[in-house]
């Protein structure tokens, strides 16, 4: 037990009790905490599911007392595209990370750009979806579906947006050659956050869009 105290591993500036980097542990801890955040939002969505007093509804058509017709409001093909983009962005960011660890700046910069593009498309998809819904007559305060839908997907979207800002910052650093393999952890943390945002969407997509 005493002997190992002298072994300072290569490439680690600060030896830790577990040998794991504190920042990586911190981002995992944060992600663990975020599980409860999204669990609460998803619970809120599920508890209110099917309890809206008025339409428009997600999966069923609705005719208002004044005789106005509303289609089911969800646009599954559009969201499927967004889902696929977010999934691919997870692949891209892991390839960017692998590039950063190998010291391949080309791979790093290229794949990171692809990740960011997917992220921006996803956010754009959501902005389009939200404005489209509002035009169709579903506002935040219209009914419980609107309220819980916008809250859940909106906070997810906020997370994606923060992730995009984080990744763009890293991309600019990468362009200037400031993410050498020794600093790839900076990207790894962002990547872990990004994957987490992705797995949250993996749950939101069926729960909100597919389950009637």
């Amino acid at each position: 037990m005493t002997a190992v105290a002298h072994d300072v591993p290569h490439g680690l500036e600060h030896a830790t009790s577990t040998g794991l980097d504190s920042r990586k542990l911190a981002i995992w801890t944060f992600i663990g905490s975020e599980c409860m955040f999204f669990a609460s939002l998803i619970s809120n969505y599920l508890v209110h599911k099917g309890r809206s007093l008025v339409g428009p509804f997600p999966h069923e058509p609705w005719t208002s007392p004044s005789g106005e017709h509303f289609k089911p409001i969800l646009e599954i093909p559009l969201v499927t595209l967004g889902t696929a983009l977010l999934l691919f962005s997870s692949l891209f960011v892991v390839l960017a990370l692998s590039g950063a660890q190998r010291g391949s700046r080309k791979a790093l910069v290229g794949w990171l750009a692809a990740t960011i593009a997917c992220g921006i498309f996803f956010v754009g998809m959501q902005v389009y979806e939200f404005t489209h819904f509002v035009r169709e007559g579903l506002k935040l305060s219209t009914n419980l579906f609107g309220a819980s839908f916008y809250t859940l997907t909106g906070f997810h979207g906020t997370h994606v947006t923060i992730g995009v800002i984080w990744l763009i910052t890293l991309w600019i650093l990468a362009l200037r050659g400031k993410i050498p393999p020794s600093k790839s952890l900076n990207l790894e943390m962002a990547a872990l956050y990004w994957h987490f945002v992705d797995v949250v969407w993996i749950i939101i997509f069926p729960v909100v869009y597919l389950i009637k």
């Binding site: 490439g11 009790s17 980097d21 599980c35 499927t80 692949l91 692998s98 660890q101 994957h195 597919l210």
Partner: protein
């Protein structure tokens, strides 16, 4: 647990190759397609293609598919498969509590809505 800085960072070097990542990406894409396909044959334009009613199986199948996607991303892209088990613990423990909370809340609120609130 307490190997002071001895087993430091060789986990970082055993990350899967780009090929593995791409394969996982492909599987994720296929699973997503299956999810949407499942929706289509259950509720979409192609509903009723089967002689039996598949609606009771829809939600469990869908949850199974998304759980598989979740696990793939966590294991391969988030590297939990190779990384320290501590990270897995820090993620899975809250996840378990979260699942219990979602489940418990749904049951309690369903009871409340259908019995207590209606008198």
């Amino acid at each position: 647990m307490d190997a002071h800085a001895s087993t430091a960072d060789h986990t970082d070097h055993s990350h899967p190759t780009a090929g593995v990542y791409a394969k996982v990406g492909l599987i994720l894409f296929v699973l997503t397609a299956l999810e949407v396909g499942l929706y289509e044959i259950t509720y979409g334009e192609h509903a009723g293609a089967f002689s039996v009613d598949i609606r009771p199986f829809f939600v469990p199948m869908l949850l199974l598919l998304s759980a598989a996607k979740f696990a793939l991303v966590a294991m391969f892209y988030m590297h939990l498969k190779q990384d320290s088990k501590l990270f897995t613990g820090v993620f899975v423990f809250p996840l378990t509590i979260a699942a219990v909370i979602i489940f418990g809340l749904m049951i309690l609120m369903a009871y409340h809505m259908s019995y207590a609130r209606s008198g």
